[in-house]
Every structure is written in C-alpha cells, then in structure tokens.
Symmetry: C2
Subunit: 139 residues, 2 copies
C-alpha cells in the first residue's frame, strides 16, 4: 500500500465509524480505554466526541493530554490507530457545532447541561492495519 | 447492579470475546491501542494474547508494563475495561499452552518461530459499562 492508499482507506474507516475507542492516561499512568460516540472528524487530523464532565476521564485528560483514538472493523480486520493530544471543550459554541437530538437521552438539561462537554482530539501520527500489512504515517 | 452481578456480566463478555483492545504506552508516553486476538483468560484476572516479537509494541511493553485490556459489544453497548500490567513471554511452555493451528498463518515457522511471543496481562482493577451504568471494581 502507498501512503496515499493507506490514508484513503483509513479515512474511509474513520468516516463510516460511529464509535471510536478512546484511550487516555489515568492518574497513576495507566492507559484507560473505552468506546465513545464519534460526533465528527476532520479528515484523520481531528476527532470530536462527547463526555460527562463528571466522568473520571475529565480530570485525567486535564492532567495528561496524551491520547489515542482507535477505529476498528472486526469484519474486515482493519484497524486505524491515531495518536495525539486531547482536550475538553465546555463552551456553548463547540456544543452547538456537534449537538444532535439523540444526545438528549444522555444529558437531561440538553445542550445547556453543565455536565456536558465536547472532547477534541488532534492526531500527530497514525498506524493503519489491514490484511497483515501495517503502515505507519505522520499527520 | 451489585458487584457480583457486574463481575458476572463482565466475565460473560470477556469469555465470549475472541478479540480484545490492547492498550500500551509508547516510548513517548502516549497510549497505543490495537485490536488483538484473545487466546485465553483466567476469570477477569489474566488475559493472554500473541504478538510478533518484531512488533514495536514489544520494546514499549519492556519499557513500560502499564496496560489496559478492553472488551466491547457494540450491539449490547457493553464495555469492560481492565487495567493492570503486561509482560512478554517467549518460553516454549507458554506458547504450547495457547497454540492453535490457525496461528500458522501468522507465524511461518509455527510454534518455534522466533518472532512469536505470548502476551500476558494481569488486571488490578476494572470498570464495567452497561446501559448508562458504570461500576468500578478492584481485582
């Protein structure tokens, strides 16, 4: 695979995925991974998700911004690992940009719920896996 | 959910899963996550997988044993995060314990392939997610 083909296949996987595995570092230095809703992505460079402010991942992210976002297709045995930094956005503008009606079931007070925050991830590098091939790339 | 019910549901998820999301820490302190084959588990306490020795995760693990294993069921919206330590086993006894014929396609020299190593993870704590409920537990 050329780098261009890899990035194209990786982007196809990211674009079609509604769930992303988000890994952060906890207060004792251990990786913590959990599935999260993908609200949007800008190519492979930026990914947005949503969290409860009361979640324990929020203080972890404030302490350590190093993170990984991983997309996977179990049927195709294809995986895209993106490594970079993550931040918590609590401004109304960011929430408005990604809000959708189905989020009401997670946040009782809707878009103004103080427990609602946007997660913004920016990738610096990645790795794409498909059919025994691994391709590493910078972003 | 009581702790007993949580552990039972988490164990059901781990037992039925053939794939696990394995997160390690790379040489720059970033979490790296990838799907891996689950070869076996001992309750929720221990998980075994397999890797190429030539994989870049091997030197990362030798440098930093902190790791996370995550099982997920996208249909049921259920996730099990296990946090603990990880090690690389290259002795023949460990390979024999988990070897299965389908691994031949990954390792040309079979069980004696010097590029084959077993990954052994031991959990210290966990978090189980199901239907808006999050339960944390020690192991």
């Amino acid at each position: 695979m050329t780098k261009e083909e890899t990035l194209k296949m990786g982007l196809d996987l990211a674009n079609k995925s509604t769930i992303v595995m988000c890994s952060t570092i906890d207060d004792k230095g251990f990786p913590n991974t959990r599935a999260m809703m993908k609200l949007g992505n800008q190519e492979l460079k930026e990914i947005w998700s949503i969290t409860n402010v009361s979640s324990r991942k929020v203080p972890h992210i404030k302490m350590n911004q190093k993170a990984c976002m991983y997309f996977v297709d179990f049927i195709e045995w294809t995986g895209l690992m993106l490594v970079g930094t993550i931040e918590i956005l609590q401004d109304l503008e960011s929430k408005k940009r990604f809000w959708r009606d189905e989020l009401d079931k997670y946040f009782r007070l809707g878009i103004n719920d103080p427990d609602c925050a946007i997660i913004h991830f920016t990738a610096n590098q990645g790795q794409y896996y498909h059919s025994f091939n691994i391709v590493n790339f910078e972003l």
